[in-house]
Symmetry: C2
Subunit: 202 residues, 2 copies
Amino acid sequence: MSPSPRTIGIHLFDDVEELDAVGPWEVLGMWTRLWPEDGWRVTTFADEAGPVRCSKGLTIVAEHGEADRPGLDVLLYPGGQGTRSHEEDEARLTWVRDRLAEGTLMTSVCTGSLVYAAAGILRDRPATTHWGSIPRLSELDASIDVREHDRFVDDGEVITASGVSAGIDMALHLVARLAGNARASQVRRAMQYDPEPPVPNP
Amino acid sequence: MSPSPRTIGIHLFDDVEELDAVGPWEVLGMWTRLWPEDGWRVTTFADEAGPVRCSKGLTIVAEHGEADRPGLDVLLYPGGQGTRSHEEDEARLTWVRDRLAEGTLMTSVCTGSLVYAAAGILRDRPATTHWGSIPRLSELDASIDVREHDRFVDDGEVITASGVSAGIDMALHLVARLAGNARASQVRRAMQYDPEPPVPNP
């Protein structure tokens, strides 16, 4: 692992889904800001530092570009419309394989796992994605043990989450894994994460 | 109400809590982008257009400043450390009262309701806020019927939500109120909002 503090990097790109990135950002930001003694920090990076236009029109500023990105102990790859082109971007897929090879803990939200699948790093692993992309996950790699009904799947080196809002649950799990259940419970309380969806699913 | 499309404005300011703003943004952005025929749009505004530094260090770009802000059919006032100074900012409190007076539906997340309380617009109303700020809500206005255990409180002209993640539930309720339960259910499904907090509260 890197010298302290260890780094979690959230990847930003054109047409990233806003909550895929900012849900985990809130969880991880709350944790690392309120409990810096745990020795972790969270940052954002894109191909180039600066403004990134998200899927629903919000602009978020990436703190780092690839040129000045710190080493990543944990990578979080969000989803969104923007991942479609990533599936066929060989340079990007090589970059993903290189991160796993160097020992980065690979995490994804929503269609971020399709990029991991295209890169081949989900081979023979259990994994999930947004419900609407479940068939695509198998198309990209038939060896994946697709977990359609799991909120997130932790396979050790790789953690994948289902759609959009599932990044919040996955990030809380990540805090629990890296700093213990008691800390994750404190983070949950700080963000008052006692969800009560006011309408049923269709 | 304004000419179509009607406008929901999310207020951004220094040290706004990221998920207070982006949770509702995702809900409302999903709704208005996938179902534009409902006649609503969502935007962000700050005192001046441009980058805003949030509470946990993320930078989000406000689309409008006060100078070019569209009329607001709905205002969403997030919380965060940044609201502390707002409680004593008379110009801002007047601005809040003016919005209610012109018929804007007033909504808040987390400590956003403390600004509403300081402005006097929660007088004799039921309301809520982040659990850590419940005593402050009564301090600011003893006439408020404080609903400590409600996820959000809809009092007609004003809707207040509890802490941080509660903005997602409140925003789904807002979609239900403005476009019906069936639409809100579709939005819930699109963002796969089937939360499963992986750790208990402390």
